[in-house]
C-alpha cells in the first residue's frame, strides 16, 4: 500500500516536471523558431511549428538596422560601471559597519536598512529633478549613479565580515596596516565567493533595470537593452521574425552569464533575499 502510493507520487511528479519544463521552455523556443524564419512565413496563414525555410536573415537585418549594437554596448558599459562602483562603496561601508567602532554606527546602519521599506519607485520624481538640475539627463552618469546605492549588498557583506574572526584584522593592524589596506589584502581575498556572487547579481540587475533608464533616457542613442527593445516596433516595424531576433540578441548576454555562473547567480540572489544558499 505504502509503496504503491510512493509510485503514484513519482508518476505525478514526472508528469508535472515534464509539463512545467515544457511550458517554461516553450516561449523562448518559439521565439527562436520565429526568428529563424523568413519574415513572410510569420504572417502566413499556414501554421508550422518549425521554419519551412531556415534562415539567419532576421538576425542579420536586426543587427544592421536600428540601434541594437549601440544598446548592447550601453547596457554593458552601464552594468559594468554600476557593478564596479557598487562593489567598491559597499565593501568599504560594510567593512566600517562590521569592524570599526565609531559614534552613530548603529543609527546610520539602521537608517540605511530602513530604506528597504521605501520602494525606489517613490523617488522617481525628485530623482529626475535632481538629475535635471545636475544636467545629467541622457548621460551615462545619470543612468549609473542612482543605481549604486545598494543597502542589500552592504547588508550581505556586513553579515559575511561579522563572521570573520577578529584575529585576522588584529594581526594585520599590529603590522601597522591602515583599514583600506586591511580590507584590500586581508578581507577581500577571503570574501572572493560572496563578492563574485553579489557582483554577478548586481550586473544582471543593472543590465535588466528598466524603470530608471526609462525615466532618465530620452535619446535613442543612450538607451539600454531593456528600454531599446521597447522601441523596436519603431525601428523594425511589426516584423515578428526580426522582433524575436532582437529579443533573443538582447537576452543572450545575461542568459550566457547565468549559464556560465549558475552557482554564483543562485548564491547571490539567495544572499540578497536574506537566505543562505
Amino acid at each position: 500500500m505504502n509503496s504503491r502510493s510512493n509510485v503514484g507520487w513519482t508518476v505525478i511528479g514526472v508528469i508535472a516536471a515534464v509539463v512545467l519544463a515544457a511550458l517554461w521552455a516553450a516561449p523562448l523556443l518559439w521565439a527562436l523558431s520565429t526568428a529563424l524564419r523568413p519574415e513572410l512565413e510569420t504572417v502566413s496563414s499556414d501554421f508550422h511549428w518549425l521554419p519551412q525555410t531556415w534562415t539567419l536573415d532576421a538576425f542579420a537585418r536586426t543587427l544592421a538596422a536600428g540601434n541594437l549594437v549601440r544598446w548592447l554596448f550601453n547596457s554593458f558599459l552601464v552594468a559594468l560601471l554600476v557593478t564596479v562602483i557598487t562593489m567598491a562603496i559597499s565593501l568599504m561601508a560594510a567593512y566600517a559597519f562590521s569592524q570599526l567602532r565609531f559614534r552613530g554606527r548603529s543609527l546610520l546602519f539602521g537608517i540605511a536598512m530602513l530604506s528597504f521599506l521605501l520602494p525606489f519607485e517613490a523617488l522617481l520624481v525628485p530623482l529626475f529633478r535632481t538629475m535635471h538640475q545636475l544636467g545629467l539627463i541622457n548621460s551615462y552618469a545619470g543612468i549609473v549613479l542612482p543605481q549604486v546605492v545598494a543597502p542589500v549588498v552592504i547588508y550581505v557583506f556586513k553579515q559575511f565580515f561579522d563572521e570573520i574572526p577578529a584575529d585576522f584584522r588584529e594581526a594585520a593592524t599590529m603590522d601597522g596596516a591602515g583599514p583600506l589596506r586591511v580590507l584590500w589584502s586581508v578581507y577581500l581575498p577571503i570574501s572572493g565567493n560572496i563578492v563574485w556572487a553579489m557582483a554577478i547579481v548586481t550586473f544582471i540587475a543593472a543590465w535588466n533595470n528598466f524603470l530608471w533608464p526609462f525615466i532618465i533616457v530620452t535619446s535613442n542613442d543612450m538607451m539600454t537593452i531593456p528600454l531599446g527593445l521597447t522601441q523596436t516596433y519603431d525601428a523594425f516595424g511589426v516584423r515578428y521574425a526580426q522582433l524575436m531576433a532582437a529579443a533573443l540578441l538582447g537576452a543572450m548576454p545575461v542568459a550566457l552569464a547565468y549559464v556560465a555562473f549558475q552557482r554564483r547567480v543562485t548564491q547571490g540572489f539567495l544572499a540578497a533575499s536574506g537566505l543562505k544558499g
Partner: protein, 295 residues
C-alpha cells in the same frame, strides 16, 4: 582606567578611517535616496511641475487624491494584479522546487529551465508575450482557436500580463524554496521513513514546517514585488484597454511625466508607499497568527 575609556579610545582612533570608508556610500545615499525621499514628501504638499515648485498648498493634493476615481481604479487594478500573481507565483515556486529537489539526475537542467526567464530583461518577456498573444498569427490563438485580441480585451488584458509575469519571475521563488528544502537534514526523512511515513505525510510533517519561514519570506517579497508592477503593463498594454491595466505606479508616472503635475504625483507616491508598508505589516501579522495556530 575604566573599561569605557578603552571603547571610547578606540572609537576615537577608528572614527577617522570609518568616516573615510563610509563617505562614498553616505554621499550617494543622501543624494540619491534620503534627500529625494524627503523631497517627495515636501513636494506632495506643493503645486509643482516636473522642474519647478510653484506654491505650498498644504494637504490639497491628498484631498484631491481621496476623491480621485482614477487613483482608486489604479489601486484596484494593482490589487487585482497582485491577486492574480501572488498565489500562483508562490504555489508554482514551491512545486517547482519540490520537483527540482526530487529528480536529482536532471536537477541542473530543470532548475535552469525554470530560473532562466528571471534573469532576462523585462522587454524580452513582453516582446515574446506580445507575439504569442497576437490576435491573427499568435501561437496562443492557434492552439485555442479563435482570434481573441487578448491584450486589447478588457477582461483578459490584465490576466494575460499576469501570466507573462508568472513565467518571467517564478524562478526566483523556486530558488527560495529550494534553499529551504536543502537546509532540511536528510536524517529527519530517514527517521520518519523508518516510522512508516510516506508521501504526503512526509510533506505535511517535515517539509512544510521546515519551509514555513521561507514561504513567509517569499510571500512578503512577492506581494511587494507585485504591488510595484509597472513595466509589464506599461509596455504590453499602455494601461489600456479603457485603463483596465493602468496600475498605481503607471498613474503616478503619467501624472508626473505626461501631465507634469509633480506635486500630485508625489502625493500618489506617498499613498503608494503607505499602502505597501501597511500591507507588509498586515501580512506579517497574519503569518504570525497562522503560525501560532500551526497551519
Amino acid at each position: 582606567m575604566r573599561p569605557n575609556d578603552l571603547v571610547l579610545g578606540s572609537a576615537r582612533r577608528e572614527g577617522l578611517p570609518a568616516t573615510v570608508l563610509l563617505a562614498p556610500f553616505v554621499f550617494a545615499f543622501l543624494l540619491f535616496f534620503l534627500v529625494p525621499a524627503g523631497i517627495t514628501f515636501w513636494m506632495s504638499l506643493t503645486e509643482s511641475s516636473l522642474t519647478r515648485t510653484n506654491a505650498f498648498v498644504g494637504l490639497a493634493n491628498y484631498h484631491t487624491l481621496l476623491n480621485d476615481p482614477s487613483f482608486w481604479d489604479s489601486v484596484l487594478n494593482t490589487f487585482y494584479f497582485a491577486l492574480l500573481t501572488v498565489v500562483p507565483l508562490t504555489v508554482l515556486g514551491l512545486v517547482m522546487a519540490l520537483l527540482v529537489n526530487r529528480f536529482a539526475r536532471v536537477q541542473g537542467w530543470l532548475q535552469g529551465v525554470f530560473f532562466l526567464p528571471f534573469v532576462l530583461p523585462i522587454s524580452v518577456m513582453t516582446l515574446i508575450a506580445d507575439w504569442m498573444l497576437q490576435p491573427s498569427s499568435g501561437v496562443i490563438n492557434h492552439i485555442l482557436g479563435g482570434q481573441r485580441p487578448w491584450l486589447a480585451d478588457p477582461y483578459w488584458a490584465l490576466p494575460a500580463v499576469a501570466i507573462g509575469t508568472v513565467w518571467w519571475t517564478v524562478g526566483f521563488n523556486m530558488l527560495l524554496f529550494l534553499a529551504g528544502l536543502r537546509n532540511i537534514p536528510a536524517d529527519l526523512y530517514e527517521a520518519a521513513a523508518l516510522d512508516g511515513a510516506r508521501g504526503f505525510t512526509l510533506f505535511r510533517n517535515i517539509t512544510w514546517p521546515a519551509l514555513r519561514p521561507v514561504a513567509t519570506t517569499a510571500l512578503i517579497l512577492q506581494i511587494i514585488a507585485s504591488l510595484k508592477v509597472f513595466g509589464q503593463t506599461y509596455i504590453l498594454t499602455s494601461g489600456g484597454p479603457f485603463n483596465t491595466t493602468r496600475v498605481t505606479l503607471h498613474y503616478m508616472y503619467e501624472t508626473a511625466f505626461t501631465q507634469s503635475d509633480a506635486g500630485y504625483a508625489a502625493a500618489i507616491a506617498m499613498a503608494f508607499v503607505t499602502i505597501v508598508i501597511l500591507l507588509s505589516v498586515l501580512q506579517a501579522g497574519i503569518v504570525r497568527w497562522l503560525a501560532r495556530r500551526d497551519v
